[in-house]
């Protein structure tokens, strides 16, 4: 349909879709929230990889690397966030994936939420957060990931 040059211009102007990993770390199996978020992000045009349940920080970071995502969304309702999230951040640093943004959702007390943000989490969402807000936060995080690693799409 297009001659070669036109096509390449079009592709570079159109950003490839945002890639997000939605993960459920820890032993908890309550996946209602994770699934709703995954579906909402997909409906918003993103490429969503859902890990399924009981993923260790190592499994999550490996999946993020393999799937080449810009954003990792962690859903934690069990209160284990203070043990799990710092470990994910640490592994990302170890693997040099510092551009990948981490967003956390779940039952996270205010104090812990501020603490996680100080440690490098891009955003924390507590119960009742509107999907629209979460979707735009993922978009912003992905944009920031792309700015930090402009070589990657």
């Amino acid at each position: 349909m297009f001659s070669e040059p036109t096509k390449s211009v079009l592709i570079s102007e159109m950003e490839s879709p945002i890639r997000v990993l939605v993960a459920k770390p820890g032993l908890d199996g309550h996946d209602r929230g994770a699934k709703i978020i995954a579906r909402a992000l997909r409906d918003a045009g993103m490429e969503v990889i859902y890990t399924g349940l009981r993923q260790t920080p190592e499994m999550i970071v490996n999946a993020a690397l393999q799937e080449d995502v810009q954003v990792i969304g962690l859903s934690i309702l069990s209160g284990a966030h203070s043990a799990i999230v710092p470990r994910v951040l640490e592994l990302l640093r170890e693997k040099g994936m510092t551009g990948v943004q981490v967003i956390v959702g779940g039952i996270i007390p205010d104090e812990d939420a501020r603490d996680l943000e100080r440690q490098g989490v891009a955003a924390v969402f507590q119960p009742g957060a509107p999907l629209e807000t979460i979707v735009s936060s993922v978009r912003e995080a992905a944009a920031s990931a792309r700015r930090q690693e402009p070589g990657r799409q």
Binding site: G29, R32, I36, A38, A40, L131, E132
Partner: protein
């Protein structure tokens, strides 16, 4: 689609026998709460067995009439407190019980022959029940007299709550082992509580909750019959657990339709003759997923209305949620207020005077008929799939629930479903409430206790019993005697479940959005 009002023309089946009469639509007892109030059974467990024991004693002093154990996630998944995967989870969502020693501490000073105890445990239920039975026995209680309930409903784990360990077939075998053992040795204990609660919390509709739960019940009955048990030897001890959600009349109708359906199924499909086999007894819990983080005091009101529906629907026991449960496990003050809510309904509201007080209401009767018809149809669909295990393997109930959950969430996002304080009537100055925090030191303390236990017990006995358990798991036959032996030698839950994992393998769900 609901109409604005209902009349005699809506009640197409006017056949409505009195309470206490088959099919028990109006209740399983003639006089209901005049004879005996429901059991006020608040679900509790956190931090350590010592701390939880203190909360149990406090709740009993406050007039609570039964206990209900919440176990932490490592325990629910069959891991000891010192397992690598337990990191950060010990004592967080419940109490850790890694061995008989923890179970003994949990019930110290509580008369196990007088208080009924419910235990919310599923995959490792047979092993945890063995710990409870041995603890009771050591305290001199007669197993034929002790009473309580084991949740032990693995099917709803695959469907909704997802705390599974083993694949469906060996899991169903373990459940059947407990039903068989119970029928012979613990005639007053409910070996299973077939649960719709978690299905609803995962986002199902009331109809899906009802239909999937009853179909799960059918599956357990079929496995027990296959084992060679006679229907009336075990069916009287099958118990149920339903959610008490926001839609007041729909919830009451759900319990009524459930009783009618179960009675009919037991009599006509399974040939039960004993009336007790046909009577659906249930525990209810108010809807945790309806509680909001915003304006948490509104949760007290929601819980009171939901609890009222459970009572007007004829529940045998009830848990009312605490206002702080969108944040954390309940603190003592919030837990007391939740119990007081039940006491106000029981002793002040007057709703206990007449059984099935709304019976005969055009609207309620229509809703009951609709839920009954809908559930019958859904049960037929699952029958045609080849049963619930097959349906689960195909992801059928899981998919139906995800869809319902997403549809509801979209209504909330659009403001079509109102959540007071969240998408309407918001306020900016929410005052923070005090919540319970579990210290990470709990993890170290539990680990220390386990190391001590492994040093002081007779490890040769433990090895012998675990080997015997593994051998028995490889063959046919009831595993309860082997589990009781292992527990008596203080084999830990992690060791016991580890032995069973070796033989049975583990289950993993194919992740799908």
């Amino acid at each position: 689609m609901l109409k604005a009002s209902y009349g005699a023309e809506d009640v197409t089946d006017p056949y409505l026998p009195a309470p206490g009469q088959f099919p028990y639509t109006r209740g399983i007892h003639e006089t209901m709460y005049r004879g005996r109030l429901w059991t006020m059974r608040q679900f509790a467990g956190f931090s350590t067995p010592e701390e939880t024991n203190r909360r149990y004693r406090y709740l009993l002093e406050q007039g609570q009439t039964g206990l209900s154990v919440a176990f932490d996630l490592p325990t629910l998944m069959g891991y000891d407190s010192d397992h690598a995967l337990a990191e950060g989870e010990v004592g967080k969502c419940g109490v850790p019980v890694s061995s008989l020693a923890d179970m003994e501490t949990l019930f110290e000073g509580i008369p196990l022959d007088a208080v009924t105890v419910s235990m919310t445990i599923n995959s490792p239920a047979a092993a945890v029940w063995a710990m409870y039975l041995v603890a009771a026995e050591k305290r001199g209680a007669d197993l034929r007299r002790i009473s309580g309930t084991l949740q032990n409903d693995i099917l709803k784990e695959y469907i909704a709550q997802k705390e599974y360990i083993f694949p469906p077939a060996p899991s169903m075998r373990l459940v059947t082992d407990t039903i068989e053992f119970g029928a012979k040795h613990t005639p007053r204990f409910n070996p299973i509580s077939i649960s719709g609660y978690h299905i609803r919390e995962a986002g199902s509709t009331a109809l899906q909750e009802l239909a999937f739960t009853l179909r799960d019940g059918i599956e357990y009955v079929e496995w027990a019959l296959e084992r060679g048990l006679a229907i009336d030897d075990f069916a009287p001890r099958l118990s149920f657990f339903f959610n008490a959600h926001n839609d007041f009349f729909e919830e009451i109708a759900k319990y009524r339709a459930g009783r009618k359906l179960w009675a009919t199924l037991m009599r006509d499909r399974f040939g039960a003759r004993d009336e007790r086999s046909m009577k659906l007894r249930f525990h209810a819990q108010t809807a945790g997923c309806s509680l909001t983080w915003q304006q948490p005091y509104n949760n007290v009101v929601r819980t009171a209305i939901q609890a009222m529906a459970a009572v007007l629907g004829g529940a045998q026991s009830l848990h009312t949620n605490s206002l702080d449960e969108a944040y954390a496990l309940p603190g003592e003050e919030a837990a007391t207020l939740a119990l007081r809510t039940q006491q106000v309904i029981a002793y002040e509201s007057g709703v206990t005077e007449a059984t099935d007080a709304f019976g005969g209401s055009y609207y309620l009767e229509r809703l009951t008929l609709d839920l009954e018809a809908g559930a019958r149809e859904s049960i037929r669909t699952i029958d045609e799939t080849g049963g619930m295990v097959k349906a689960i393997e195909r992801g059928y109930p899981q998919g139906e629930i995800s869809r319902a959950s997403f549809e509801y969430q979209q209504k909330v996002e659009k403001g079509e479903a109102v959540v007071v304080g969240v998408n309407r009537f918001q306020s900016d100055d929410d005052k923070p409430i005090e919540t319970l925090r579990i210290d990470r030191a709990v993890e170290a303390r539990q680990g220390e206790k386990l190391r001590e236990l492994r040093k002081t017990r007779n490890n040769r006995d433990v090895e012998r019993d675990l080997k015997a358990l593994r051998g028995a798991a490889e063959r046919d036959g009831n595993l309860m005697p082997r589990l009781l032996d292992a527990v008596r030698s203080y084999a830990t839950l992690g060791e016991i479940c580890g032995a069973l994992r070796d033989v049975f393998g583990t289950y993993e769900e194919r992740p799908h959005i």
